[in-house]
Subunit: 682 residues, 3 copies
């Protein structure tokens, strides 16, 4: 099952009419009309209303909300309401609350923070999902089921006795014997050989950790606990989904992910969702490349199928230290970026600003005064109009990517909990660095798991591929053999799935492909750099390495870049090996953007994958295509993230889907800041 | 009842003779003579001496100290000795120790840290106060009772089960029903509807909070808990005061406050104190404006009645990371500043440096060698001489202020626990910013609660008046109507007492007065600025806005200042509305000092409230006045905080009370750094 | 008993064959041959292997390791295997795990973290040591017993009920009565008079502390707890040593210290070790002076007897945030530095890199590929060759020092837990500052405890001698009287062993010697400075004071240096008193390096102690000497820490022990960076 094949990009979002009296509902729907809002997510935080105590269910409030939405002919995304527990549950079942990394049992409060192993939570959440599915299956306009909410937040872990017991069972199943576990975790080190299962404690601040979750005595132990915890939360999702399926076999079921959320391995969850959705609240500044990456990561969860943006804010994200408004035009630009990268729905949190509590200043379609003439509302309404204009032009369309970027949660976890490297290296920063070079080159890319089928790609980027799983070494080799290009970087090929080192030269099983041996790993303080000079086809390129500098001995590869300083000046920092008809690049240094972009431009050039506007800074070009009646329909998105007008030639003949205008290849296109063009290639 | 009407400014402070053998007492009193020390605070930390176990009281040590003070003809401030518990109490009654924000029950240690809800503490502290009051009521020279000590320190909160139970009772009384509480806290948000009182947990790191006390899921919940906790501690004070009153109906009762101490709402305490006192340990540098503010805040607790400085240090404050000595002259200058702002007593902690423990290097009148020829002692003695010279000239006199600055603990709490704004804004920094502009203009000002009678003021400043209580909107409007000037700033008029948003245009109920509508609130990172140009009567003024920039739509007000940058360049940042005969200013931006000073100079100029030395940087002018036999006696203080000599003309005919010299208006007055003039207007 | 008198500097280190299959052992020994590795430390982390449960001992693994080492003719350092507990111990005896400063009982994990007071740990560790000693006493090649491992890490403290009970017993023994304890801790302050022993809580975050271990209400209490905890851990060591002695009366027993490790008072431990050893993992950059200091501190533990470096890394230390490799030549340079300062063994952690867990990237003689042609291995092998070349030339030789630098754990603790000073002052930074000046001057120095015999020294440096013990004042005076030079600095002579202030002018009992009175202590923020000009024999020297500026009144001393700024400009910052035939210097300011070096050059010049290469930056000269057959054999080490070639004249006739070449005094010696010369004076 995949995302619903709708007649247009769905538009709307979280709606909580239960917080408001009836007269407000009328004003709400009047505003929805103005803004072309067609889809409402209902019920997310209603558990305490629907079940005031363990014995009593009362669906009055949700019935009313659903009935009104049906009457108003809206499409409905219906929540199972289990994202936030009711007070009585936390009070009556203390073990439904999490025990934190410091070993403290919490009491009732906040949301998204149940213990995944709590028998009471599991029983009661499943029962609620069952009743809701039974009651609302078949509701007209019901397009999807929304289970829980943002699973895992805030930190995705519980360290209670129930979780410890579950962890031990999970370990027993994974390893079969203590002997195998002792081997996997290398417990002979530091006298940790376990002789009974119940000796295994959860790895926390009270046992194997110091300084926080990234400093552990046993990487294998901590990594396994992360895997277990991700699966324990998944089991909660699956429990509820099973009850939905008991009553409704046809409506897709999903939950909203949080993009680059480290605690949960979304790759291990994805097969259990019918389609992917995520909540887009980009942190920091200069967010457009990061958002592009995250859209692609989410699209990669379901092999490139369209996904939904389940939440975004019309203006302010309330939870930051500093909460600026979205600048004019940015809402539209970023929404279109999501669609360009594969989103078939663009939804908000939320329709109307809550009166009280911590999100009352979070952006909403309607503010506390309910104004429909404010700048934010006008931008929401403008986008609604444009989406209506777009119609179904891209629904179901996919990204025609020949580049794959491998992202892997095991590597994310493993590299950040490892001693001896450089604690200032962030896995996400590394992969974002490579993605940035892809984005700058305008190559269409997929962000995929390590297990993905790589046969369709010309280029496979696998930076920081520290931990190897399955036959990844063979599959990367095959890509190169058949003429493709593969690339990895520092710390690659060091450990197996248990984080035990390969007892051979690094990069271990990858060494034959990359034609090198890494003899030492040097690390530098933030701010220190070592110049790297590369001899590329376009000429010499000077860049800087920071944080990591590996000392490389080529065993077949040619040296492309060399260090300029320190005792290893003149030795290789970047190498390329020829494998069959293809290439295998190794970037042994923490190469900065200039260097990465230069390398990838050459790589993409070799495969004809450089985008048409690669030389226009901040102008993004993204493509979606689908087969319709044996014909390929291809839609090009031009998204201008810069702050000055640019003029570029059209690169195809096309129809502008928002204006209806015809565009001829070569004709000048002018884009002001935040401008978007949606061009159907003709 | 008010502060004792003494014959001079009292001089002395905390004295702990119980820590010393008898021969030291003789040296002490000899030094007191040298320094004209006339007042001693006795008994503050004697509980463990007076009551070695629950059954035994032994007043030997305190009897001796009191008898000697009486014999030496000193005035006595007598403590109830409950500021620090004895070890046996913490050991025998674990619940007398606090449970902290992290949920950890503490054990015995430190001081000022009892649980306010502990039945054992309440019973035993009250019993001790009762016995002390009974024994020492009527002691010759007894000028005041000193209950507890610095209530609330260090963080003013306990999160134990007794406090939770007390909190639930307090809530039941406040709201009457769970329905009303659910409404007040907007619990439908995040599925928090309570269906039984015992489901309510204290808001802590284990329930509704993350990242610390300022990040809560439910602002109303956390705000109510702060109110409850402030009242729970007040109940401890009231318990003891009641016992004192049972034995002594005439001597004023007080406790020492800590100035700008966020955890306790001193405005809600003040009616229960007979007069206000506080401990002046200014943090950081350039402290004189902040101290002036805090003196005025403390004076405002009792409607402008004189207060006491209960503690200050002769030289080093021991508890900072860096503990510099007070520079020469500063002790006198700062002491005179306190008197200029309304203090009728100037007391030290402490008379003799403790031999051991954490305050042994805290400044004291007598150091470990007991020297009376050291620089600090000489400065103490010089001030003693001057106070003797001053006599009763200002006792009971008040500040003739026509400017009111509203400070409100509910707003302090509410704005700092709210998401969606800017976490870098500090309520105290905002009000200090406005106070600084008042101080620079030399206007005499009161710092008052939101409930204060505003009818006597020409100007009422109410910056950051986010949360509105009672009829404040009407009363501000009335000030303007009758010709006064009112002012508020960003975030004003947003929420009611429960922190639920007003469902109308901001600034809510204040909007008619200020003649504007705020459409959006933008926030900026620290260090980022947006230029604001104001068109003032004195000409255009360029300033900068930082942290907060509101987007304002005038609905009647005129635009005084506009933003210079970003997408709202050219739109209003500062407005003024004409209301009846007066004005209502709205400062929508985080305006920096230059801008605030320019605005307030114009405002004060309109009302003739600019001080005579407003153009002399760092020269403070403060006035106290009283009616004596139908005549107004007015004393002017000139306090030179700068580091270079200044010469200014006298602005009135006067007698210099410290030299006896006559001063004629217009005559040049020369002040060296730290110089003080005390001029009785003639 | 002292360190074993071996035939050469021992070379090797920690070896964990139990982690590897038999074929790896063959490769290991082949590599040991290549690198001349002659000594193996066995068994450190084998407890869980040797005792899989409480009832079962199984020495198979250790037997095999020992037998192979014997067969290979290696010398053996045998561990008692109690450095890391087995899982069953932590699980079955929860009290064997520590309770931390926050009051949290930990569960099993990590290592070096047993509760020293746990009856189960004490019983089981002692039993294991007993069995190991019984089994392996008399093993051929056994050169030393290694008890536990790095006692105290990570923070050296447990706060459980068993420790609390032990603390109370220790206090009762120390003080005899509560009256004496109340006096020592000055408990009358803050109402802390104890009336029963069980009222005393351990000083932790839950009792007397705030902001962490350095902020305590009662310094005496916290200081005593540190003393108790150091002794409680020592008792664990002594328990095991006693069992070893029951089976082996002749082999020296030691444990590995951690150099400048604050939690444990190594001076109070040293008499119980037969010889000192330490693990050299220098933090930060520019480590050579700090390492020199630490070697001297460790040598000072046993009155100057040779010590061992029990661990160092061939390349990477894995536990830092950033883990650079040791630069080429540095391994040799630093190893020789250790030998130059008195080490008779140079051992690594470890022989082969662990396959998994947190130290798998820690440097090792053999990497994961087992390479013997890598740069790190080649440097290890080169050093092995050189040590073989050196033979027994320095075994047992001592440092001929005439300078003593007093370091004292009580002062370290006391000054860093004291309020009222400057929290930015670090005791270690102060003593390292003075040591740096010694090192720059090339004076041979001992780093000694306050109790050391001072009669042999010409110069005694006692910086920051805040807390005085025993007759130190008299002994310092005597050094000066007989013509020597003594020196102390700010904060000196303030408190007794309980940290109660001396009730007299500072520097208390030291005042007669130094001829001054300190009237005030001023403190400054980091980065602020006050210029100090000194009038030295070599001419005027300008330097800066930072952090601390004392206001000094000479009472006999002459003023050498004066402040240049602030209200005490022109007053003394540095003084010198003439005492008998000698001098007593007082450095009242936080004098920076230029100033300290100038003062100490003058001091050492007076006594003829300036080294031959004091004017050559980064060239270290260290001497070891011994009596052999009535003759003094003197070996000079020249160690070049700089990064450019230097040329210096030989200062004695000598034989180069590494090349066999003859060297004539005056002949030019050329040293490249990292070069080392070992010259036997002839």
């Amino acid at each position: 099952m995949s995302a619903p094949r709708t007649s247009k990009v769905l538009y709307g979002g979280d709606y909580n009419p239960e917080q408001w009296p009836a007269e407000v509902w009328d004003a709400d729907y009047a505003a929805f009309e103005l803004a072309r809002i067609d889809t409402l997510t209902l019920g997310v935080f209603t558990w305490s209303l629907l079940q005031p105590d363990e014995e009593t269910y009362d669906f009055t409030a949700l019935d009313a909300a659903v009935q009104r939405a049906v009457a108003e002919d809206r499409q409905i995304v219906l929540a199972t309401a289990t994202g936030a527990m009711p007070p009585w549950l936390g009070k009556n079942y203390p073990d439904a609350n999490r025990t934190d990394f410091e070993g403290r049992r919490h009491v009732y409060g906040q949301r998204h923070n149940h213990c995944p192993s709590s028998p009471a939570f599991r029983r009661l959440a499943t029962a609620l999902a069952d009743r809701i599915a039974e009651r609302y299956a078949g509701t007209p306009g019901l397009v999807a089921w929304h289970v829980g909410n943002e699973y895992g937040g805030p930190d995705g872990s519980c360290y209670c006795e129930n979780c410890a017991a579950g962890y031990r069972e999970w370990l027993a199943e994974r390893y079969g014997s203590l002997e195998a576990l002792n081997e996997a975790w290398n417990t002979t080190f530091w006298s940790h050989r376990y002789t009974a299962w119940d000796q295994i404690e959860v790895p926390s601040a009270l046992s194997e950790h110091w300084r926080g979750p990234n400093h552990t005595a046993f990487q294998g132990h901590t990594l396994d606990f992360r895997r277990f915890m991700s699966e324990a939360l998944l089991r909660n999702f699956r429990d509820e989904k099973e009850r939905i399926r008991a009553h409704d076999s046809g409506t897709p079921v999903t939950t909203n992910f949080m993009g680059t959320f480290r605690p949960i391995d979304y790759h291990r969850w994805s097969e259990h969702l019918d389609f992917a959705t995520w909540d887009n609240y980009p942190p920091g500044r200069d967010k457009h490349v990061r958002m592009a990456f995250t859209h692609d990561l989410m699209r990669g969860l379901k092999d490139g199928e369209p996904f939904w943006v389940m939440e975004q804010t019309p203006t302010i994200t309330a939870s930051r230290d500093v909460n600026p408004v979205k600048r004019p035009g940015v809402l539209g630009l970023w929404s279109w970026q999501g669609i360009a990268h594969g989103a078939d729905a663009m939804l908000y949190f939320q329709m109307r600003a809550a009166r009280g509590a911590c999100e009352k200043y979070h952006g909403a379609v309607l503010d506390h005064a309910g104004r429909t003439d404010s700048r934010p509302f006008r931008e929401v309404a403008r986008l609604g109009e444009e989406l209506e204009q777009l119609g179904d032009a891209v629904i179901g369309a996919r990204t025609p990517a020949k580049v794959a970027l491998i992202v892997d949660w095991d590597n994310w976890w493993a590299t950040e909990i490892t001693d001896g490297f450089n604690r200032h290296v962030s896995y996400l920063a590394t992969v974002l660095g490579y993605y940035d070079a892809v984005w700058q080159a305008g190559a269409q890319a997929d962000v995929v798991p390590m297990t993905a089928d790589l046969t369709g790609y010309d280029v496979v980027l696998a930076p920081q591929l520290h931990l190897l799983k399955g036959d990844i070494a063979e599959r990367l080799h095959a890509v190169a053999e058949r003429g493709g290009t593969v690339l990895t970087s520092f710390w690659a090929g060091r450990v197996d799935e248990s984080t035990n080192a390969y007892l051979m030269d690094a990069p271990g099983p990858l060494a034959p492909t990359f034609g090198i041996r890494v003899e030492e790993i040097d690390s530098a303080e933030p701010g220190e750099t070592n110049p790297v000079t590369m001899d590329l086809e376009a000429g010499p390129v000077d860049s800087d390495a920071s944080l990591v500098m590996e000392l490389i001995v080529p065993t077949g590869a040619e040296t492309i870049g060399t260090y300029g300083a320190d005792f290893y000046a003149g030795t290789p920092a970047v190498t390329r090996n020829t494998v069959g008809k293809g290439h295998a690049w190794y970037i042994g240094a923490g190469l900065e953007a200039t260097g990465l972009r230069a390398v990838l431009l050459q790589v993409f050039g070799r495969h004809g994958l450089v985008g048409p506007y690669a030389d226009v800074v901040d102008l993004e070009h993204a493509v979606r295509e689908r087969q319709t009646g044996g014909r390929t329909e291809r839609v090009h998105f031009l998204l201008h993230h810069g702050d000055r007008e640019v003029q570029v030639p059209a690169h195809v003949d096309a129809t502008d889907l928002l204006t209806g205008a015809a565009v001829r290849a070569g004709e000048p296109l002018t884009l002001d800041p935040t401008d978007v063009l949606v061009l159907l290639e003709v």
